[in-house]
């Protein structure tokens, strides 16, 4: 049964979320991995805020905790300790289903390896998060069409991912992240699997989206790309060691 939802649809060019407070806030967030005999501190008391409409880059060397931080931000993982507010609401202790609901409605993911589903067409890949909302077909169609238009991939909607280049696949992945009209886009090394030309193109796309009002948080270890962000947070050994404001 399809259900009409009252999703907030922000017009392009505006940042979603309640004005006047940070969209995302972490306080003393820690993450410890326990293996048989070793206790690994991936994050050791991270404080961080991201404002609406902001474009933040998280960088640092391998193993510094970038991806762990991103997975906590995206509610794919939970912190061992600390607090996390998303759009002013505490999300640290939510159950699996509620976290899935927030991932679906408030967060858009862009992965390094695109992670499109090979069996589904471009259209269906972009439609996927919307189907999990129980959104009506007509509304889904409209949203998918818009998202694909925004990344200039509407003409490829019937193709399978395997029929696209890496750059095209990542644009489809961006469209999928956008289609749900999330509060924030989380990008995990979005250019890592692309050559420099395609990498630049994706970064341009993210910049355009930011300029249209999207909030973006990107993990990258490539200094060339972190420059696209307004603010760069430097992680080392699970701590924020530096913050730089860009353009």
């Amino acid at each position: 049964m399809s259900v009409m939802t009252n999703d907030r649809v922000a017009p392009h060019g505006t940042a979603k979320g309640e004005p006047g407070r940070p969209l995302l806030r972490l306080e003393e967030v820690k993450k410890v991995f326990y293996t048989d005999e070793v206790e690994t501190h991936a994050l050791s008391g991270v404080h961080m805020e991201i404002q609406r409409g902001e474009y933040v880059s998280i960088s640092g060397p391998s193993g510094c905790g970038k991806s762990t931080l991103l997975s906590i931000l995206g509610l794919l993982d939970t912190a061992t300790d600390g607090q996390y507010w998303l759009d002013g609401k505490p999300v640290q202790s939510l159950g699996f289903t509620e976290r899935a609901r927030i991932r679906n409605r408030e967060i858009g993911f862009i992965f390094q390896s695109f992670n499109l589903i090979g069996d589904l067409s471009v259209y269906e890949n972009v439609e996927l998060p919307l189907t999990y909302r129980g959104m009506a077909t007509a509304e889904r169609k409209r949203r998918v069409g818009e998202a694909l238009e925004r990344v200039s991939m509407a003409h490829r909607s019937k193709h399978l991912p395997s029929q696209l280049s890496g750059g095209q696949q990542q644009r489809v992945a961006v469209a999928r992240a956008l289609a749900g009209d999330p509060l924030i886009l989380l990008a995990d090394e979005p250019t890592g699997n692309l050559d420099s030309t395609n990498g630049e193109a994706v970064m341009e796309l993210l910049r355009d989206l930011h300029q249209q009002g999207s909030t973006i948080c990107m993990v990258t270890h490539d200094n060339r790309f972190s420059k696209y962000a307004q603010r760069t947070i430097q992680l080392f050994d699970g701590r924020v060691v530096d913050e730089k404001r860009g353009h």
């Binding site: 899935a100 609901r101 679906n104 967060i107 992670n115 589903i117 090979g118 069996d119 996927l128 995990d188």
Partner: protein, 804 residues
């Protein structure tokens, strides 16, 4: 509904993109479900048959067993049954019967039917009354009664009298005697198995001996009485009779058991064996499906993680996988049910004898539902387990670079390996079980080589006592008919026999050895006995090892003679010269018969145990029974003789039917039909099991090679030769297989002991079978691992190192 349709659409598309996987899973399920629906439906049709008798649980089979010899029930004597009928208070009625044949002459040629001689109490013991007319009265069941009534079965009524409701009172010529139809039994009733002609059994026949155990009996437990009370009363009656008639009843006691149990006791062990075999096939198939689903789910970890990252709930993911599993299972289930139905029809069609009336074989809905449920459940369980793992654990890792399609964890690897080991172990047990059955059947078939069965036509003639009342008439008829047959063109020899060798009958008698046994001895030896005419040995090719065959002058007015087989000679005279020794049957008034020859050992009943092999043969002139099977040897095609033999008999006596006309080869093959069928079924099941297990090994090895492509590439980059890679892959398959074989051999050693009773001339721990199966499984495993190995050695290190 929209979401469900979407799940269904994705499922169909996903399965279409992996046709090999979908086809294999559906095939496994169809095979597992098919053979199980087939066998369990047959099993239900027999073991849980709806017998057409009211309050069937109150019907008990009454039998005698020898407390000293064995625990096996034997037929009863008429005097003993009369005493039980007259003395028992716990049995409301007692039905007594013996099986016979009836030759009905309603048209030109007499038709043979299975018939039952029954007493007046049988109908009430069974609780069944004729649909038309009546059953026999007690007065009709006496020797010399004026009226000779007959009750006919529904089928005979329909086929011979066109369901004429005025059939009662009509007369029919049966076995040369005119009888009056007094009743028609209800539709579906035949008793005890296939008979549909019922004639009165003379219960007052005082000439019948207590030593003549030829009658069967059922009783209906009286209201208020229990089975225990019946047992106790029967025991008391037996004890009294044992005191009164020690010569015949010394070690005998009576007992009752539920009739339903008695009906199925012989076939139950084999059915249970078959049921176990197909359960093994289902288990192997389920393990294989589980393995395939596990491997597939592992390869979809990334896809599932993407869905989770996109906000799919655990329930939604599980539902998606459930849709796929159920789709596969239902497709397999539908195909399995069709396969089961087809298989059952095929099996039933291959049975050459008439199936007892109470067995009804239909694909049973509850059986099918149970089997499908087991398969679907296993599919769902193994399909969903990995999804549960994925949704409970780390979602991000599979989404990152370098984790192709998700990750294979040691726990999942162990699970897959354990499933393969289980498949191999189950296949070993099943293969050994079926190997024993097949070898058992081959041993049985080997007996054929002892006879010269080609070129021989056999057929049976029975001379009704009403037409041929005198012994001499019967002897003369068979002698003259044999001579006439011998005159047919192409005929080389002719002989008659009571029970054709390697058949389904076994007749035993006790005898007295001259100078050894007491004339009234209670422990005189019992040996298998047969009646033959001169020419029988030569016709069927039964080798005469010593002495001479019977001649036309033996018996009758000449000297009485017998032949013995080697085992009988050994058993009766402990290796001393048998020829010249004398024996006699049936008391001091009988003549001594001299052993004039020794023949080779050939079983009378094709499946007789060792102790029944000793046989003594009596010439027809000394034992002038009314039925003989005539064997005719010809130089050409024996079947071509059929019409001449029939014409010859009609010319001599048109009232006599000729039945069971088959070549000797066909006759012997028919005798072995059940053993052959069981061996064939077990063979088919074990081939299926072997195929599925090999497929399982192949699947795991192929998956393992795919997962280890990068590792293999690294090994090759570091200098591993092709042989090293081959050893790596084959070694893994061999370890799993050997472990499975080891477990399987141990289990088989323990389990096959229980099938000893179903084996012929072979031990349940038969070393060649165990060794053969070990070799077969090991070879299959190496073969199954060969393709993935070949793929592994073709790995290009450069490509492999880039492999995701």
């Amino acid at each position: 509904m929209d979401a469900l349709l979407q799940d269904l659409r994705y499922a169909i598309r996903s399965l279409r993109r992996t046709p090999g996987f979908a086809f294999t899973v559906v095939l496994m399920m169809a095979l597992g479900i098919g053979v199980n629906s087939m066998i369990y439906s047959v099993l239900r049709g027999i073991l849980f048959a709806d017998l057409p008798f009211p309050e069937v649980d109150r019907i008990v089979k009454v039998a005698v067993f020898d407390t000293k010899e064995s625990d096996r029930d034997m037929s009863m004597s008429l005097p003993d049954l009369r005493d039980i009928r007259d003395q028992s208070r716990t049995l409301g009625s007692l039905g007594v019967w013996t099986e016979s044949s009836a030759y009905l002459t309603t048209g030109e040629e007499p038709q043979r039917h299975d018939a039952t001689l029954a007493n007046a109490g049988l109908a009430s013991a069974l609780g069944v009354q004729p649909a038309l007319g009546r059953w026999f009265t007690r007065e009709e069941c006496v020797t010399g009664a004026n009226l000779v009534p007959v009750v006919i079965g529904h089928r005979v009524w329909r086929e011979q009298w066109g369901s004429d409701r005025n059939v009662l009172g009509k007369t029919v010529r049966m076995n040369g005697r005119v009888r009056t139809i007094v009743g028609v039994m209800p539709e579906g009733f035949r008793f005890p198995e296939t008979s549909d002609i019922f004639v009165p059994l003379a219960m007052n026949d005082t000439t019948s001996s207590r030593g003549n155990h030829s009658f069967e009996a059922v009783g209906r437990v009286a209201r208020g009485a229990t089975l225990a009370a019946v047992q106790s009363e029967l025991k008391q009656i037996a004890a009294d009779l044992s005191r009164e008639h020690p010569a015949t009843n010394k070690d005998g006691t009576f007992r009752a058991k539920p009739y339903r149990e008695d009906l199925v006791q012989d076939i139950r062990p084999m059915l249970v064996l078959l049921a176990l075999a197909v359960a093994f096939v289902l288990l192997i198939a389920c393990a294989n499906v589980a393995n395939l689903l596990l491997a597939r789910a592992n390869s979809r970890v990334r896809e599932l993680s993407v869905r989770l990252a996109m906000g799919a709930t655990r329930g939604r993911i599980l539902r998606q996988l459930l849709t796929e599993s159920v789709l596969l299972s239902l497709t397999g289930g539908v195909l399995g049910v069709l396969l089961g139905e087809w298989g059952m029809r095929l099996v039933l069609a291959s049975i050459p004898v008439e199936i007892p009336y109470w067995m009804h074989f239909e694909l049973d809905a509850s059986v099918v539902a149970a089997v499908v449920a087991v398969s679907v459940l296993s599919g769902i369980l193994f399909g969903l387990a990995p999804a549960w793992q994925v949704t409970s654990g780390d979602v991000l890792t599979p989404l990152r670079e370098g984790t192709p399609g998700g990750g294979d964890t040691p726990a999942r690897r162990r699970m897959r390996n354990a499933l393969v080991v289980s498949e191999v172990a189950l296949a070993v047990v099943l293969l050994i079980g079926s190997g024993l059955m097949v070898r058992s059947f081959l041993r049985m078939q080997d007996q054929r080589s002892a006879l010269r069965s080609e070129g021989v036509l056999t057929s049976t003639v029975t001379l009704p006592v009403a037409i041929y009342p005198e012994d001499e008439q019967r002897v003369a008829f068979f002698r003259e008919f044999r001579q006439a047959l011998a005159g047919l063109p192409g005929v080389r020899s002719v002989g008659g026999v009571l029970n054709l060798h390697l058949g389904r009958n076994n007749w035993s008698m006790s005898l007295q050895r001259e100078g050894v046994d007491d004339p009234k001895g209670l422990d005189n030896p019992v040996v298998t006995t047969n009646v033959i005419t001169p020419g029988y040995l030569a016709t069927v090719g039964l080798p005469l090892l010593q002495g001479r065959d019977f001649t036309e002058d033996d018996g009758g007015k000449g000297a009485h003679v017998v032949l013995v087989n080697q085992s009988a000679a050994r058993k009766l005279w402990r290796g001393a010269e048998a020829i010249g020794k004398r024996v006699r049957f049936g008391g001091e008034r009988e003549e001594w018969a001299t052993v004039v020859g020794v023949i080779a050992d050939i079983r009378q009943h094709v499946n007789a145990p060792e102790q029944r092999i000793p046989e003594i043969l009596i010439p027809h002139t000394q034992f002038k029974n009314q039925t003989l099977t005539l064997a005719v040897r010809t130089g050409g095609d024996p079947a071509a003789l059929a019409s001449s033999v029939r014409a010859l008999l009609r010319a001599r006596d048109p009232n006599l039917p000729l039945y069971n006309m088959r070549t000797l080869r066909e006759q012997i093959a028919r005798s072995m039909w059940d053993t052959r069928l069981y061996a064939q079924l077990m063979g088919v099941f074990s081939v299926l099991a072997l195929f599925i297990a090999a497929l399982g090994i192949y699947g795991v090895m192929a998956y393992s090679v795919a997962q280890r492509t990068r590792e293999i590439g690294i090994r090759m980059a570091l200098g591993a030769a092709r042989a090293d890679v081959q050893r790596l892959v084959i070694g893994q398959a061999t370890r799993l297989t050997l472990l499975g074989i080891g477990i399987g051999l141990a289990a088989a050693y323990g389990l096959t002991r229980f099938m000893a009773g179903q084996l012929f001339s072979i031990r349940p721990d038969d070393p060649p079978t165990f060794a053969g199966v070990t070799f077969l499984l090991a070879a299959s495993a190496v073969l199954a691992a060969w393709l993935p190995t070949a793929r592994a050695v073709r790995v290009d290190p450069v490509v492999a190192l880039r492999h995701e």
